[in-house]
Structure formats: structure tokens, C-alpha cells
Symmetry: C2
Subunit: 380 residues, 2 copies
């Protein structure tokens, strides 16, 4: 039966890493609980919503935890409630002792709290992955990639595969991450330092967006393990499992036009253009499928909106560099805003083919490693 | 037809004072709009939800506004949208010019935005109050009073008068502010520096809780004006009107027991007790009408909860000062938490009569000027 003493706030921050897997919809009762396993090596906290699972290890030799294990064992405790109770304990440390009938007694300062727990055997088995890692990458780098790409995934369940993020390793070393909702696409290519076996999976967007909150040390490296149904992101103290989305992801590379087709290149200051798009978007608020028009002519480059209900806007854009033919093209300003928000460089390049063909957005320096594609809206 | 130039961010902060009166439910279409009146004296911004109205004056001689009025007039503009558009303008100043058909042209930097407005005559008349002020008080002081009292008002519409805050001037100088939901009561008494005519009104809680966001300068004095149906809080640049709640407020002073009846006085550190109550409340989370028990005996003072579903808690309280008979009393911990949160002093006194009679909570130093009353819960 479990008995240990530990630093409250250090325990709590570990608990909150695991807690992120607890869902708002609880599929089976045991999944509303933490599984706590105490061994001579330390404490292992597990939480899961059936789709994603997090196992957080608290090693006994981690000085920050001030951990003293007197007795080993395992138990299930109601997750949200346990978190609240721990956070309210009066002292800087607390003792957790398992009593009869899976009850747990928490002692801290002058406070004694008894909680009802459950047998750890009631917890579903989390898949373990035995293979070698397929890839290894710095956490900060992978966070950035996910941030650049994931927003473009679809929110429509009609084509489930598009609600995920497509991740591939090609040529044993090039990581390609793509998402598209079929109106816009974002694609990031990164050469890894390590070599691995080529793979191709579709990761649910929820797991991708959760990644950044689960792994906090940007310098640390995370290993990516795969089975046919799951992905595991693994560091020394965190195992983050997610189910994969089944089904073939479309071949998106063929959507990106070849260089020879472009008829107009424009360069903008990212922040200036973002502000102009935000203003323009306001005027589209009252319209269904509100569009903004970009008119590129010899003397001026104008962004304009005409919304019969609300009013109109007209703004001359500051183009840093222009090459090619004049063009009038209309698009959903939200797509441009989303695209610009993930561009880290100060200058961005737009490349157009015609007013009915998708156009691409590239950071000026990095170029083709990070391509975004947006479909214009046909007006007239 | 209106035409003026003004500093964008200064205009925006004034606009946002008025905007607080815009409701989420719009009773009549005109109330979704700002009324903007421009005269030689400056700009007047009006917003209202029918129950509360705010008129914000922007005097022409306010240097921060950098205002230049070229032409006077009045117009209605869609409030939320106008606020968004102004906030997105590119330059530090903008020009607003009224065009044909109540259209308004905003010019800022290279951006030109045309908005559709409406005739100002479509706006409902805001009641004007001509009387002398009934009372005058520092804004910071009145904010504190409202904060100390308003939380105790009822949220149940079954007795509308209890959803408001009772405000009286007695003996021409003593301001008494009370709220109760019939389970707990909070009452603050303040001697004003100025004299006024006695009055008694019930102000909707929404107006009371909005007060602190509308008036920002705590040093400034606000004058209180009354009609039979409305209250007006007025400073040099803000008129804040609220409808009153009709109906007689109960005589709450008779609820506060006389000194002779108390059988037990306890003093606590506010912050320590608040933490203990928060812990105890957690354990009541799963129970309907969850109660916490305070057991005062010769050797120990214990706060305990027993929740059959979740668990139990037991905590020895640190009592700073104790006078009187032993007692076991049960109550809703949320009421104590709410009460302690508004006590500014570090030490608080509880005074008990018996375990079935309401008890009172007083800040130790200030005593009877700020009384809170809580009804215990009968158990067994």
C-alpha cells in the first residue's frame, strides 16, 4: 500500500502534465481518474481519454521533488478533484498514505483529507511500443513545425483524414508535415540531424495542438515511435501516446505549382500586411463568404472590400518588391491572416499564377521549406 | 454634418467607457449603436441598454484627445463594429467625416473606411435629471462599498427587490448600503463628508457591479442624483444612469442581533481561514447543500467535512482569540469564503449566538460599520 512524502508544488506541476490527457467527455469511468503507480524508481502518473494518453514519470532521484517513498503500490484517484485537493493543501509538502479499501489519507500541515480511490486494475491498459524510434527532433523545433502547419487542418468531419496532420519521413532524414482543409494548405519540410526509417502517418489535430503544452523543455529531444495504430512522443520522463487517423492522406505535393507558372511575385512586410488584412476582414464581418480584393496595377496596389450592409474599405498597400503582371484577385482574408500569423520572418513573398489558381505564400529567406497555398475566391 | 480629427487611442478609451452600457440582448435596434454628438464643446458618446445608460463627454480642451472639430452634428453608428474598426486603424490619429445619407468616412494613414450610420433622431431619449445631488462620495470609496456588499444580493428573480442593492442616506450624512439573498447579508455604513437629503433606493446589481469599470479615477468624487425611477452617478465627464428596482426593501436592520445575545466570539487570520474554508469546500463539491462543520471545544477548534461519496477532511483551526461557550455549527462554506474575500483587514471576528441562529462576521478593527450575517445550516 502506497506511502510517500513529496513537495507539493513540484508534484502538482507533474500532475498537470498528465492531466492534459483527461477529456471533457469521459468514455469509461476509469478514464476520469489518474493512475498512480509507486515503485522504488519513483512515481508514475497516467492519464488518458482513450485517444491520447500521457504517462509522466517522477524519478526518485529528482531533487526538486523532495520525494521519500516508504511503501510501493498503485491506485486510481479522481483526476480533477485530486488536482484541486492537492493544490489547496496548506503546507509545502504532503504525505500520501493508502489506507483500507483503496482510501487515501493526505496529511499536510494541520489538515487531514481522506479521499476514496479505486483498484488500479480497473484502469485500461495503455499500449506499449517496443520498436526503435523512427525519428528524433528537438521539442522546440517540432512545436514550431506543428504551429506552422496544424491550423490549416480541416474542422469538418466529412473527410476525417483532413482533420489530422500528415507527417512523413522521406529519404530517411527529411521530415515533411502538411495539413489542408482543401481551401488552404500549409507544408513544412525539415532536414533532421538523425537518420530513421521512412514513415507516413496522420496524427489527430488535437494531439498535435496538445503537444506544446505537454512538453515544456524546448532544448530537449523527443523520439517518435510508431505502430500501425499509434504514435508515441517520448522523452526521459514523458510518454505521450496518440491514436492515428486511419485512411490515405491525399498526395498534396502535386497541388503546389511549379516555378515556371507564376506570373506575379509580391513582397510585403508581414506585420503591415497583417494589420491591413485585419482591417479589411472587419468589413467582411456581415457578409457570408466575405471576400477581400487585391488589385495590383502599374501605379498602385489596393486592398478593398465592399460590404453592402456595413460599408466599404479601401487601402493602398506598401509593396516592398513587385515582379510580374497586373492582377485582380479575391480571397477570404481570414486565410491570409492565419497564414501570416505563423510566418516568423519579417518579410513574406506571395506568388500568383492567375486570379482563379491557388497562390502561394513563402517566408522570403527560407523559401520553399515552408509553403502555404491558398485558393482564391472567384467573383464577377 | 460631423467632421473632426482626434487621437485614436484616447478616443478609443473614451468609447470603451460608454460601450459598457451596450447590452448583449438588444431591446430596440437603436440601442446596438453609439450616439455621437459633436458640438463646439466637444464630443458626447452615448450608449444604453434601456436599463443603464452612459454618456461620456470628450471636452474639446482635453489635450490628450488632440481633438480638432471642423463641423458639428450627430449620428448613430453600430457600437461593437465601430469600436473594432477604430481599434484597427493604422495611424495614431484619424479623421471622421459625415457624408451623404448618414455615411461616415474614416481616414487614417493610407486606409479609408466608409461606414453606414443612421439618423441620431432614431435614438431613444435618455432621462435627464435636474435636481440637486443627494450625496457626494469619492469613487474609490464607493467602489469599495459596492464590492463589500453587492455579492450578497440574490440571483433569484422570485423576489426582484433582493436582486438589487439597498442604498440609503440616513441622518443626512450616513450612507448605508445593504444586500441580502435571505441566507446571508452584507451591510456597510459610511459617514459622508457632505450633507444631503435622506433617500432610500434599490439599485440593480448589474449597475452596482458595472460601476467600478465605468469610473476609473478613484480620487475623483461622484455625485448621486435621484428621481423616482432612476439613479444618476455623475462626474465631470461621465453620466451613468440606471433604472431603480421598484418595491419596498425589507427592514434588514432588525435581523442583526443585539450585542447581549452573543455566546461565543472567535478571531481568525483572514487569509488562513480562507484557505482552510477552500479546502473544506472541495470536499463538499459532490454533495447537494454540502456543509462544513465548525466544532469549538475546550482544547481544539476543528473544521470538518464528511462527504460519503468523495471522502472527508479534518483540520485544526488556528484561533487567535476565543471568548465564550463551546459550539458545534454547520454552514455553507461558500458563504464564508465570499464573506472573507471582501474583508480588507488581516483579522476577522465571528460572533455566534447558537447553532441555529445567524452569526455575524466583522473586521476586527472597524467593527460594526461593516457587518456580515450568515444563516447556519441545521443538521441532524
Amino acid at each position: 500500500m502506497i506511502k510517500f512524502t513529496i513537495n507539493k508544488s513540484a508534484f502538482l506541476s507533474n500532475l498537470r502534465v498528465a492531466k492534459q490527457a483527461i477529456g471533457s467527455k469521459i468514455a469509461i469511468p476509469a478514464l476520469s481518474k489518474f493512475k498512480i503507480v509507486v515503485t522504488a524508481k519513483g512515481i508514475e502518473l497516467t492519464a488518458s481519454n482513450g485517444q491520447t494518453s500521457i504517462v509522466k514519470m517522477l524519478p526518485v532521484d529528482d531533487k526538486d521533488l523532495g520525494m521519500l517513498i516508504e511503501s510501493e503500490g498503485s491506485i486510481l484517484l479522481e483526476a480533477i478533484f485530486f488536482d484541486s485537493v492537492i493544490s489547496q493543501l496548506p503546507d509545502v509538502t504532503f504525505e500520501l498514505e493508502e489506507m483500507e479499501n483503496h482510501q487515501v489519507l493526505l496529511r499536510s500541515g494541520k489538515s487531514e483529507i481522506t479521499l476514496k480511490g479505486q483498484d488500479a486494475d480497473l484502469y485500461p491498459r495503455i499500449e506499449t511500443i517496443q520498436s526503435a524510434p523512427f525519428a528524433k527532433i528537438e521539442i522546440g523545433k517540432l512545436k514550431q513545425i506543428f504551429n506552422e502547419v496544424a491550423f490549416a487542418a480541416s474542422t469538418q468531419e466529412s473527410r476525417p483524414v483532413l482533420t489530422g496532420v500528415h507527417m512523413m519521413l522521406i529519404e530517411h532524414q527529411i521530415l515533411v508535415v502538411v495539413a489542408t482543409d482543401s481551401h488552404r494548405l500549409s507544408r513544412r519540410e525539415t532536414r533532421l540531424e538523425s537518420f530513421g526509417e521512412d514513415f507516413e502517418v496522420v496524427i489527430p489535430n488535437r494531439a498535435v495542438s496538445g503537444f506544446g503544452n505537454i512538453f515544456s523543455d524546448d532544448e530537449e529531444k523527443v523520439s517518435i515511435y510508431l505502430t500501425s495504430t499509434s504514435v508515441l512522443f517520448k522523452t526521459e520522463t514523458i510518454n505521450f501516446y496518440s491514436r492515428l487517423i486511419e485512411g490515405a492522406y491525399p498526395d498534396t505535393d502535386r497541388l503546389i505549382p511549379e516555378d515556371v507558372f507564376y506570373s506575379l511575385d509580391l513582397e510585403f512586410d508581414v506585420s503591415e500586411l497583417l494589420h491591413a488584412m485585419n482591417r479589411a476582414r472587419l468589413l467582411t464581418a456581415g457578409m457570408q463568404n466575405g471576400t477581400v480584393k487585391l488589385s495590383v496595377s502599374d501605379d498602385k496596389d489596393i486592398l478593398s472590400v465592399n460590404s453592402p450592409e456595413i460599408g466599404s474599405s479601401y487601402e493602398e498597400l506598401n509593396v516592398l518588391e513587385k515582379n510580374g503582371a497586373n492582377l485582380d484577385i479575391s480571397f477570404n482574408p481570414q486565410f491570409i491572416i492565419d497564414a501570416l500569423k505563423v510566418v516568423k520572418e519579417p518579410t513574406v513573398r506571395f506568388r500568383f499564377i492567375s486570379n482563379v489558381r491557388p497562390f502561394i505564400i513563402l517566408p522570403k529567406e527560407e523559401g520553399a521549406n515552408f509553403i502555404q497555398l491558398i485558393t482564391p475566391i472567384r467573383t464577377n
